[in-house]
Point group: D2
Chain length 305, copies 4
């Protein structure tokens, strides 16, 4: 199996040359576009890895499924569905029209920035620091890694330059979609995006979703199976930005990518996969990462279709 | 099992009162909104049915996955992907902007009318009658029912009143996306939509997709497994109009609905399902049909997530 | 004055090299991009010309203000305003979204193709040939030129290749905006666009609008002053496609351009201007023609602002 | 003349019942929807008034033409045209799509909020307080009223609740369209909107534009004639939100309305008009104010078309 992973990485490595690391957050532009790693956890407990699987990077949008999970755990399915839609918008990751007379859940989903910002406002906690602390705690538990923490340099960089997310947040507030102070909400959101993980961590989180909420090889349950199905379905519909349809056809498993170069993929009942390769295509997805997942899916029949 | 189906139908019957039969094609408005039937074929060969499962109706948009299948069989995956996109548009079933400077595959997918009209132009055949004959033949084979044929009254009604589809077809032609005569292409498309089926027929077609291209209980192969995965993935992403995300979350299987009141659902490796209930919600989906699928999915753990 | 015109033409001639003749109608691509002529009629009866002012070309979209005028004469202001909006759409000449649930007058105006096609359906006449005959007769009277007629080659070319206009017309019909046969309406519209004129003819028509409906130097009235003000206002708002704002700022008079290379400009109470220069900018406006009008406006203080 | 104004006010007063005062800024909701006043300055120096012409209200969007004027005076025509477009967007007053890959001048014009916020960044001044002070000074001079000042309660109300304008400003900043601190720019913009004026003041400002930059009855020049023509043309194209086309047809003079209930109208070379009537239609225009201008235009032949 590790031989297969090595082989796939070698086949896909040339694709890293076709992409570019994200630059809109200055700190991200310091990443090495040649980095490429993969980590897999199988439901039988085996673990496999190859390449730069231990390199750290910021989770960015891959935090969205965990945000969604915590919002579900805190509020239940109906409350989340009422406030945030689940339809693919067919638009890039932060599409909303300022002139829409009234913003409604149909305008966003949990995997676009506007939806994820709204998710922050649904987390339980007396303050936004507490909300964030609970999110971080959940990530540490799912990843079985108590050392996961925020990359403060990236966080500061996001907070200083996140004008588009500020625009989105003010727009949501203008439409009465939340009451809290914009800067508090964004502090939580920017921190969430700046959590530092490695491929292994994403594989563990993916395994929790693949295993329908149970810790693998145990009877311990992190969250109800229903929430896993909800998150996995949303990932399938809109986890890969506006490349979600292509990804469904070519790979066929729920997955989420982030501009930090990470991809978390979920093969329900079978495995969790974490990939790191920060050279992105123009849709913001890890270009070699998708190629690797396509090959892995074909050779291991991972497609759920 | 048939007891379960009866029970589900009874539970969902009140929903038929909340919808309305389609009226934009005059012939469709003659349907009985109280009709409600279901037919299931399991991979082990068992068949179950309840309600008006033998009632006939026109296939309408449920023909789109078969059109896609034949286009794949005639041209292969790459040719289809190059000419027709697979992203959810987040828009209703015929969204396209006349002013788009150039129409590109990203603007449509095989499950919206524009994409399905383009699929007609990709079928093999010396004439459009021959193309249609091949499509009808495939449907008869998949459904194991040589008597399936066109409902001529509905066909004439569609042809006489299908101004929006004419607009779409001329728009595609204006952008050079096909060369043939618009009326020839539309004749094929309108005939395809007017094919008369029953819940049983849809269940058989769904079973062929669930069974990855093999005829159930045999080794006979209708089409390669790869095409089944392609069609199933596309159905998941955009098979239920702009309610596809909700459907993925609530039901979790690939499916396609039509304004004739039919739904074909595919539980990969497990079963094909055909439903008929012509009272539609405002998105054009069978309202009681979706409710029945949601209950069936919960009780039989059909969700692929 | 003719010296001034010669000078302006010489100054602007280099701009003809920056544009290109229209090619989407095959016949139009035969035009000579170097042609450049101007004709002016002043309210005191003087006439001035320079360059290729006697060259013939097809009127194309410059027929839209005359179509609007005849629709006003046949139906009055209220009927026209009720069926066709007057707001700039900020979109190119045929913007309409196929998915708009219902098309309403706000979606178009008399200067975009959809609006002009609707104007054809508002003309009086037992048949569409009669409607067209009445339009041609009005143009001949306004231009004081009984020899104006259709360029049959261009007409056939438009009819054969006008797929986008067919799409628009079917879309309007699909939304119940007119009842007549699409091909009849389009025959009238394509004929209207194919009327052959010269700069002199456009100057006369412009003079009738500048003179608020009276034939210049006479007391004869072609149409009420109110209709002239209506047409002139609409030209100011959206006569130059999506370059109307720039034109208002730089030139400041109502005007209409066509892809045939003609521009008709109206300096209310002062003059009618006809220009021919078929090299177009990317917005579809005569590139040297606009430059000439800008210079003329500055030197003769034509801006109405 | 004052008799005519009284008569027009009486005729139009019933329309005030069909509108409603703005409520999105809490302070504005305190206005009396029955207030109705008009003030006219003629180029011969006569002044006429009727109704509540001395009532004070906040200038709101009517400040936009003055902002544009000062930006022109500070930077010249080319600089303004390069940074801010002049096309009608056909969209409401703050239309911009968050997902537009890059915002360009074509996306806004000086009469929508985004354009006006950008205008603030073009004013000369070492600080934004200085920029605002220069704007206020210009308004005082044009209106010949040194007592004009900010309504501090409205200003605070706008600053506290202006989430949509914050969204717009952050969006512009996210696209690199300005470098200054968003809150500084908005402070200037909100102050500008909160300037307290009366109908008389708007009439004087309108007269300066009508008189092409000269103080009426003097040879003193406030600004070059070219800037007046620029501002007047922009007002015609997009001064009345997405009712600009209707206004051009029905009234036919450049004008700007604000949600405070004011309208400033410019009859070039003839008169400046100020109106106050805070009951707005659904497009944000003073409903009785437009009616009054339509009647005035008809009886005094004000249309420039």
């Amino acid at each position: 199996m590790e031989e297969l992973l090595d082989q796939i990485l070698n086949e896909c490595r040339p694709y890293t040359k076709q992409g570019a690391v994200a630059t809109y957050i200055p700190e991200l532009s310091k990443q090495n576009p040649d980095d490429f790693g993969i980590y897999i956890i199988s439901s039988d407990g085996s673990r496999f890895s190859a390449g730069d699987h231990a390199k750290h990077f910021t989770i960015q949008s891959v935090v969205k499924p965990v945000l969604l999970l915590l919002a579900l755990m805190d509020n239940g399915v109906e409350a989340v569905r009422t406030r945030i839609g689940v339809e693919a918008t067919g638009k890039p990751f932060d599409a909303i029209n300022v002139s829409d007379k009234s913003l409604v859940p149909e305008h966003f989903n949990p995997m676009v920035n506007a939806g994820a910002i709204l998710l922050c406002t649904m987390l339980k906690g007396d303050s936004y620091s507490e909300r964030f602390a609970r999110l971080l705690e959940l990530i540490r538990r799912l990843a079985d890694n108590p050392e996961i923490d925020v990359d403060e340099a990236v966080f500061r960089s996001e907070r200083e330059t996140g004008f588009k997310n500020r625009a989105l947040a003010y727009l949501l507030k203008a439409h009465g979609l939340f009451k809290d102070a914009v800067e508090d909400v964004l502090e939580c959101y920017f921190r969430a995006c700046s959590i530092r993980v490695c491929s292994r961590d994403l594989a563990y989180i993916g395994m929790a979703l693949a295993n329908h909420g149970r810790k693998f090889k145990t009877e311990e349950r992190f969250f109800p199976a229903e929430y896993a199905r909800f998150v996995n379905a949303v990932l399938m519909i809109c986890g890969m930005y506006d490349g979600s349809g292509e990804f469904a056809v070519r790979v066929g498993v729920p997955a989420k990518s982030g501009v930090g170069g990470g991809i978390m993929a979920v093969a329900p009942t079978r495995m969790g996969i974490g990939i790191y390769s920060p050279a992105l295509d123009e849709k913001g997805n890890s270009i070699a990462g998708i190629q690797a997942l396509e090959r892995l899916s074909r050779r291991m029949y991972l497609s759920i279709f």
